[in-house]
């Protein structure tokens, strides 16, 4: 059987400046002429020596930390960007859900955008016409077909965008984290649609940070680390491998020699630590004590609007919350610019909050809507120990990520043998 996708020794190299999205101007270019602008250390391999074959009908999960090369791989496969070396052979039409709603124009109506978006994704006019009703049905936007999409709610917008892309009916579907957005009902629908695609013998590549979605939807997976494949095999084992290694060191994390840290300049992440109530480094923390997460970083220059934050997720990668050190509006006003220097941002997670189990900490440093300097969603993992937690007199597992100590009262009716217990 010919593979649907055959990737051979694929590699992609970027200039560091390109990764950062820095703009060149003519003057920079002129200033560089005559010197050697392409020194080896200014380059970074986002992807290197990647090999795999996919039989038609496989649903492949792609997991790895931010910057591991997942998105670069998908971009090469859908021909948005060209590889630097190696090759990929693809049999069949490729549809991508790299970002839904690509090419939607806010001033155009829902109907008009279906045609426009369909054409951009590579559908012919006749194909769009024949699937038009199905798309509208799936998106549940019949009444708003003639309304400009700028008046749509974000949910409607997303449904419509996904509906068009999902009805492209490609032989190969590339999906990148679309399910991170949208309400639960919509996510279920998207997952269902992806399942249908796979049932029909289509090949799907699914990139996600959400391990439970990966486990549910895929049976094969690859783990990517620093641009190459570190594990390839059954999904359950891939997830284990990822969480044990790629999912971050336990207790402490530094970014020494990590090219992503270099690319974040002038921000420089130094280390991330989880501390127990005594202020000591620990990877297993009691649920009944407060937990401190400390992120140490250095700024080579003043950064306006910088906020530094944490993501907390379950060991399966399901997000629990995100919090930033300038969330308090008053503080944000006090610190419009963070001066160059070395900092530690500490977040205190209260006692009696987390259930026993494993957790992942991610970090983010960004200036809202200006630039995201650094992000590592699965930087570190730690575990919480339930000893002494409320209810631990019963040796049973409590569901969910939280195990709060809550106030209860038992109100006794007059004829019972107890007084009120408060």
């Amino acid at each position: 059987m010919t593979p649907a996708i055959r990737v051979t020794d694929l590699g992609k190299r970027y200039r560091l400046g390109q990764l950062r999205g820095a703009q060149r101007t003519l003057r920079d270019r002129l200033a560089l002429t005559g010197r050697i602008p392409r020194s080896q250390d200014g380059w970074i391999w986002a992807l290197r020596h990647v090999n795999f074959d996919l039989e038609p009908g496989t649903v492949l999960g792609v997991i790895g930390r931010n910057g591991a090369g997942k998105s670069t791989l998908l971009k090469i496969l859908c021909r948005v960007t060209e590889p630097t070396e190696g090759q990929a052979e693809i049999a069949g039409r490729v549809g991508s859900l790299l970002e839904v709603g690509t090419g939607f124009h806010p001033e155009l109506s829902g109907r008009e955008n279906i045609y426009l978006n369909g054409a951009i994704l590579g559908m012919r006019r006749r194909e769009i016409e024949s699937r038009f009703d199905e798309i509208v049905d799936f998106a549940e936007v019949e009444e708003f077909l003639e309304t400009p999409v700028k008046h749509y709610s974000s949910g409607m917008y997303l449904r419509l965008a996904f509906a068009v892309a999902a009805h492209l009916d490609p032989e190969i579907l590339l999906v990148d984290e679309v399910l991170a957005v949208g309400d639960v009902e919509f996510q279920r629908k998207c997952l269902g649609k992806m399942g249908d695609v796979a049932q029909a013998g289509r090949t799907v590549l699914f990139v996600s940070h959400n391990m439970s979605a990966i486990l549910r939807l895929t049976n094969q997976a690859i783990v990517m680390d620093r641009g190459s494949i570190s594990f390839q095999g059954p999904t359950a084992r891939a997830v284990d491998t990822y969480l044990a290694t790629g999912g971050g060191q336990a207790g402490e994390r530094d970014w020494q020699g990590d090219p992503r840290a270099e690319a974040a300049a002038p921000f420089r992440p130094l280390r991330l630590r989880v501390l127990n109530s005594a202020g000591r480094l620990s990877e297993s923390l009691p649920s009944i004590d407060p937990i401190t997460v400390e992120f140490e970083y250095q700024l080579a220059a003043d950064i306006p609007g910088l906020r530094v934050g944490l993501y907390l997720a379950t060991a399966q990668g399901e997000p629990l919350f995100a919090s930033f050190d300038l969330d308090e509006a008053r503080r944000f006003e006090q610190m419009p610019v963070r001066r160059a220097g070395r900092y530690r941002s500490r977040c205190h997670i209260p006692a009696n909050w987390l259930n026993e189990g494993g957790y992942l900490v991610g970090v983010n440093a960004s200036a809202f809507r200006i630039r995201s300097y650094f992000s590592d969603e699965h930087a570190l993992r730690f575990s919480v120990d339930g000893t002494g937690a409320p209810g631990s007199q019963w040796p049973e597992r409590r569901a969910g990520p939280f195990r709060p100590r809550l106030d209860w009262e038992i109100l006794a009716e007059a004829d019972s043998g107890h007084a009120d217990v408060r």
């Binding site: 948005v80 590889p83 049999a91 001033e107 045609y115 426009l116 054409a119």
Partner: protein, 272 residues
């Protein structure tokens, strides 16, 4: 089933015109989008396509026609300048829109594959609709001033094609350069202003001294404007000494633009 092999392309990859043809429906849709969106949320809507050249013509007629008393080859100055303004306006707005089109469409370029040529091509071509609307006014003006259409009217589409090729050639260069060098955005207004004065829109080409005429004809828009006047307005000899060099330069611009665009295209998604 289509099979695609993705690998680094070394050297020259061809013009990719057959690939562009495969996506011709997308080009139509992009043109259609530009036309639909252009005058959304304006009070006067598509009337702007007429008002812009018309009001410019009025200003030119007052200052250049009346006050400066510029020669207009014996035609009423309003008609004379309006015939020049039509292709110039098409060129100017086409180049302006197309030069920024790849950057404005970066969300498409970094997410979806299709021949990138479709983007500047659609930007330039969508100006044809405005041209058509403004042309209707010209017919009205010719009736008003009782100027009979020239027997050379058949030449009109050819000069429109020349205008389209010139605009596209320039747009391919500028849009591709703009992906890497945003200087283009600052350069463009000056470039277009200088170009405007080098084109016989407000004055007649014979104002230029004989000795410089062949140099002058290297501006392809000179050929377009003089050709349009020849095709629209009464009998006069075909200005071949102006038009032939213009055609040659337009062809060079278009082919070199295509080549430059195609060689830089492969890095657009990484750089833009």
């Amino acid at each position: 089933m289509e099979r695609v092999r993705i690998r680094p392309i070394r050297g020259w990859a061809g013009l990719g015109l057959s690939e562009l043809w495969r996506f011709h429906e997308l080009v139509y849709f992009l043109i259609w989008r530009d036309v639909r969106v252009r005058y959304k949320q304006t009070l006067l809507g598509a009337a702007w396509a007429i008002l812009q050249p018309f009001l410019t013509m009025v200003i030119f007629s007052i200052f250049f026609g009346e006050l400066a008393g510029m020669s207009s080859d014996g035609f009423p100055y309003p008609i004379f300048s309006y015939v020049g303004l039509l292709p110039w306006g098409f060129f100017e707005s086409g180049v302006t829109k197309a030069a920024g089109s790849l950057v404005a469409g970066r969300h498409l370029i970094t997410k979806v594959y299709f021949p990138r040529l479709a983007i500047p091509l659609a930007s330039v071509a969508s100006g044809l609709v405005d041209f058509g609307l403004a042309f209707v006014v010209l017919i009205g003006m010719m009736a008003y001033y009782r100027v009979a259409p020239s027997p050379a009217l058949w030449g009109l589409p050819l000069f429109l094609l020349l205008a389209l090729s010139t605009a596209l050639g320039v747009s391919l260069w500028l849009s591709a350069l703009n992906v890497s060098y945003r200087d283009i955005g600052y350069l463009l207004p000056f470039l277009l202003r200088a170009w405007f004065f080098l084109t016989p829109v407000t004055y007649a080409a014979n104002l230029v001294p004989e000795a410089y005429r062949s140099l002058y004809a290297l501006n392809p828009m000179t050929g377009v404007v003089e050709g349009m006047r020849w095709a629209m307005l009464g009998d006069r000899p075909f200005p071949s000494e102006l038009i032939l060099p213009s055609v040659a330069v337009a062809a060079v611009l278009l082919v070199s633009g295509l080549i430059y665009f195609r060689t830089t295209e492969r890095t657009f998604a990484d750089v833009v």
